[in-house]
Subunit: 341 residues, 2 copies
């Protein structure tokens, strides 16, 4: 592999904990930042762990969208943070709810996935992005902008990242997992340089230096100009799958409520109250459809009607077949339950 | 690279958090264990972090040799553990001190580097290894056996690992950093399967899956039989450097006290009381010799007379020159100080 021939003596040695410098430079240029404002680590979840260590003490409040990415909620809770949810609407977080929570709870940060959110597929509007920065500055909390799906837009026009709105309160997180390879474990953060230095110290104390081979491979891939064409190819593959899932939902689960995403990996579906997803999941599994537990995405205990439907790893035919099965099950269950009453 | 051609679809995807299965199998066979008893992670320090999360709560006592590896002490302290030292003798830990501390402090674990210890180079005798297992079982603490230098033996006969003495209380840690490449960040643990499963859950919650490219490369290297010849080559390179350092110490620092190691990376040197190493470090740096702060290796505040001297990355000439400079400085300082009194 070219990177081992050209840079083997670097990537095979211990290395500064903030990551492979040429990759930091490449990322910095892409986001109009300084290389010293970039930290590259073993995936972005690992960086969220370091951020939680740095920014919170046990008992502190942190905010997430409701629903949000289950692994992030787990990381925050593991460090002893109190995780509260800001309701998510079809154009992003509920602004009034965020302001109330910010006032009352003095959160350390608000974790948000503004583009094609995991697990709902929702995109935060430009107006809400601008409002978010104002509120973060007024109430003095950090914004953790996690944006790994951003390049996978299948419809509509790009919105600016929250980070690009130039606030010192925004930390930008992303990774190569969705656009290159998840097994590589290369994620990165952009933020104020003093904070990057503090994170690099925590990183060094944790693993000495990050996985340099993965970072070297990612850099070489980017340097050669292969990332853009790969993203174009992924968009071509995923777009019809999103369309297929959306039309299958309209056909087989007409009672469900969801927002059509403009990109990403997921549609998040709310079922009507008579269709408890715990039972649905058990029956669906017997029919060969594995659904993840919607409750994991909700910091409070109210996710029992929620289904996260991933569409990228399945063919359109598989998607239609799966939704048809869920639809027939859901209808039977609705009859069961109304029959009981 | 061959591993990407043969197993690219595996190593480039998300993967079980316990690591790349073929590598777990290879390591298991080498240590007479089951593959399910092996966890592979991003370096062994990261595993020490997971172990600290799993086995300790803030305020718990953990034991280390005194002195011990500074980064391990930092990891344990960061999690809120109280780190106490068991004095290290020329054949390993002080047995009586360990027993007293085990009785009185009820430690969660004892962290020990039995072969060519970092930072002293000391090797724990067989008698003490056997005694350690008895004490761990009697007083119910875990033994964290960290053994990354084991294969780098330049003199004398191999002793059994503590892990091979077949106690359920011993966890074995090692890595490929010293025998293949540190930049790869591939470390591993062997221990009881239920504990490995718990660690794998913590690992998954932290980084989803470990760095699979590094693990794939390490496996391919091992599978091809390249590890043994590489270790032989390293021994040939490092042995004369150890000899060179030992003879330079005899010549230029005759007042110092140290144990000649049978392998590894370091000789640990205790200077006579009149030669404070803080001042020595400052003066040595001005002369182009960078010494690490000995106090970092001591959990209590008594490392000011200790120097860790690494010999592997320097030529014999560089080693002799460096020790000659330290020797001349140390002698001047001794005169300075006695001049003051």
């Amino acid at each position: 592999m070219a990177i081992l021939e050209r840079e083997g003596s670097v990537v095979l040695q211990y290395h500064p904990a903030a990551g492979f410098y040429p990759l930091r430079e490449w990322l910095a240029q892409r986001h109009d930042a300084a290389p010293e404002a970039v930290l590259v680590s073993n995936g972005s979840l690992q960086i969220e762990e370091f951020l939680t260590q740095l920014l919170t003490s046990p008992g502190d409040v942190v905010l997430v969208e409701r629903p949000s990415y289950d692994r992030a909620i787990t990381i925050f809770r593991r460090a002893g943070a109190r995780v509260l949810g800001v309701p998510l609407e079809s154009d992003g977080f509920d602004v009034g709810a965020l302001e109330n929570l910010a006032k009352r709870e003095k959160p350390k940060f608000f974790y948000i996935i503004p583009d094609f959110q995991n697990p709902t597929g929702v995109t935060t509007s430009l107006a809400k992005r601008e409002r978010l920065v104002e509120l973060a500055e007024r109430y003095d909390f950090w914004v953790l902008e996690d944006n790994p799906y951003r390049d996978l837009r299948y419809f509509g026009g790009e919105l600016p990242t929250v980070f690009s709105l130039h606030s010192e309160k925004v930390l930008y997180l992303s990774s190569f997992s969705k656009v290159l390879s998840p097994g590589m474990r290369v994620g990165y953060l952009m933020g104020p340089e003093p904070l990057v230095q503090q994170l690099a110290k925590i990183a060094e104390d944790t693993y000495v230096s990050p996985n340099m081979i993965g970072q070297g491979v990612a850099y070489e891939y980017c340097r050669r100009g292969w990332l853009g064409p790969n993203i174009d190819r992924l968009r071509e593959v995923y777009r019809p799958r999103l369309e297929g899932l959306a039309s299958a939902l309209e056909e087989y689960l007409a009672e469900a409520r969801w927002t059509k995403p403009e990109g990403g990996f997921f549609i998040g579906v709310y079922l009507p109250p008579e269709m408890d997803t715990s039972l649905l999941r058990i029956r669906a599994r017997d029919m060969g459809v594995v659904l993840s537990d919607g409750r994991g995405f909700f910091p409070e205990s109210d996710g029992h009607l929620f289904l996260r439907l991933p569409f990228c790893a399945l063919s359109v035919e598989e998607i239609r077949e799966g939704i048809a099965r869920i639809g027939s099950l859901a209808n039977t269950m609705a009859i069961d339950i109304s029959g009981r009453g």
